[in-house]
Symmetry: C2
Subunit: 345 residues, 2 copies
DNA sequence: GTAGTCTAGGAAAGGGCTTTCCTGATACGC
DNA sequence: GCGTATCAGGAAAGCCCTTTCCTAGACTAC
């Protein structure tokens, strides 16, 4: 392990001089010494120990992002936006996967505090669990108390700056589209019940139903895991329980993908027999067959805005930016098979 | 910023004692003091400064992984396998996206050296660029010289332990399947020419052709970016230049997705008019319509093995493990439309 | 020629933690 | 009851770097 002292000795100068040259201090150093030192640095392949540097100067340049799983396209897109801004500003991003485990999430917050991170970005749905929320809030408060910044994507139960996907509104948008296409028997492929995202999107569905004097009965909501196989399982369960369904609303595109797979397997035509809609507008949505009608969330942009908030000077009061949603009509939503008379106006 | 000294003062003990309690030293401490200290730790929300710890004890517990882009499913899967093993062994993973920029890649290697990473894992195709390879090799050598470990996934031009996807063999496998289905006019949607992965997979295609006394003419190979839009662009180019093509071999599933999109748009039936095959067997491959015939690479496992190699004791000679490939027959490959007489045996 | 102003470079004090070494106290053996 | 082994806890050195403060020399100005 070559140290700064080694370089100094070899070059016949003081450690202070080497430090100034290597870390680009504002203090002037003669060209002669500079050259001599750089030559030795090259020779010894010297790289300053980042930990020692951080200890000595205590400026923070790394940003931590805690997501459920980067390999999930939802978080992958957010992370991409985040990374872009981070490298523009010379920050190193540490990506942490919590795999939706509150314990691990806490562990990562602690770890990032220990790493002297400049900011922590929490992305993904929160948990409807007051005890956990309280513990997490306390940890984050300790972090911000020492100058750390926190921003969250979603998770409106936490303090701090936030970028909030308009989940309720998106739910309302997509469910309205489904109802307005004429569907009356609508099933919901729901993500796990403990997540705020689930609650919000469902609330949007319900509002759309209520506006039309409908309801979404509990038996037509099936909770499953937030992935393709969860979507498939929920589809099977709903279909078997209620064969007259003409539309399935999935809580995200991945679950919708699972639904399409099951329907194709059973020879059920989409949208001929049953319509399917998703949420998020992940890149793959347009390449499915039929292409997926969904609600677009500007994920890359959300990530970029989250980190931008985190790196700006803090406001006195936490800021909350809404991320707009947008209906994306594609092929997977159509009218129900038995075409009823259009709604009376 | 609460420090260990603060805790010590508040609890009325020496810093040494606090350190022993907080970091779980082997040295015994009385229950009374332990309790007193932990209470203060809780009160002050103390978290030890990781940089100071690493400086003082100099054991390394973080592993860096440099990939082209985690949001690409190929790397997402590898990273997932890697993360799993890493957290089992109590390591923190730092994910770095190089976005296929050699400069940035070097910068990240340097950064990870500075962070005192325990191991660096480089995943993804190498560059066919001797000058760059030399510089990178030098950097990595400096890292290993100070006890760091390096393993690579792919990139056989670099030293160190390696997990090598059988790209050539996979190329041979899939191209053989295409030729054996009876296709004679085959186009290749190729990833960028400077990557070793491209070269290897193409070599496999060519070997399969040669065994059948065929060739793949250069005009039927179109190089494009390694993503969906690249695949789409290459498809357009090949189709326009050579309308009699009956099969397209894509260098990965993402490019194949782009091809399917173009073909659907043009009303060309797959595999009725044109067959399409991919590479990698990403999760989405089975959910496309038609489902994609491809070559399966055990990506999660590759990631797990890469980090396992990195955390094991080093061998005297670098180890190279091959990752097996496996043909996955699905719907997108069929016989060419004008069914010719089957090959004479 | 002397006083005063710059300048480049070095000495040394941290920064927060771990760990070796040491001390003082208790327990043990005879 | 004395010497020795054992143990809990503290003092202090060290990990590698940055940065403030100082010094010595080179200039300028009169």
């Amino acid at each position: 392990m070559t140290t700064l002292a080694d370089v100094a000795r070899q070059a016949g100068v003081s450690p202070a001089t080497v430090s100034r040259i290597v870390s680009g201090s504002s203090k002037a150093v003669s060209d002669e010494l500079r050259e001599r030192v750089l030559k030795v640095v090259e020779e010894l392949q010297y790289v300053p120990n980042a930990h020692a540097q951080l200890l000595a100067r205590s400026d923070r340049t790394t940003v931590g992002v805690i997501v459920h799983d980067v390999s999930d396209p939802y978080f992958a897109e957010i992370t991409r936006g985040l990374q872009r801004v981070a490298s523009e500003r010379g920050r190193l991003v540490i990506i942490c996967n919590s795999y939706r485990d509150p314990e691990r999430e806490l562990a990562y917050v602690e770890l990032l505090r220990a790493q002297q991170a400049e900011a922590i970005i929490l992305a993904g749905s929160g948990y409807l669990d007051p005890a956990f929320t309280k513990t997490l809030t306390a940890q984050l408060a300790a972090f911000t108390a020492t100058g750390g910044r926190v921003t969250v994507v979603g998770r409106h139960e936490l303090v701090g700056d936030a970028v909030l996907p308009a989940n309720e509104e998106g739910g309302h948008l997509i469910a309205s589209a489904v109802f307005d296409a004429g569907h009356r028997h609508v099933g919901v492929l729901a993500s796990p019940a403990g997540l705020t995202t689930t609650a919000d999107r469902l609330a949007g569905f319900r509002r759309a139903a209520k506006e039309r004097r409908r309801t979404i009965p509990t038996r037509r909501i099936h909770y499953a895991s937030f992935d393709r196989d969860g979507g498939a399982a929920a589809t099977v369960a709903l279909l078997d329980a209620d064969p007259q369904l003409t539309a399935l609303i999935a809580m995200n595109d991945t679950m919708a993908t699972g639904a399409l797979a099951v329907l194709r397997e059973r020879g059920i035509s989409v949208p001929g027999d049953i319509s399917v809609v998703g949420f998020d507008d992940m890149p793959i949505a347009r390449d499915l067959t039929p292409s997926l009608t969904t609600v677009r969330l500007p994920l890359v942009d959300i990530g970029a805005r989250a980190i931008t908030l985190a790196l700006e000077d803090p406001h006195r009061t936490p800021r909350r930016e809404m991320a707009p949603v947008e209906l994306v009509m594609r092929e997977s939503l159509g009218p129900p098979p038995t075409t009823r008379a259009p709604k009376k106006v």
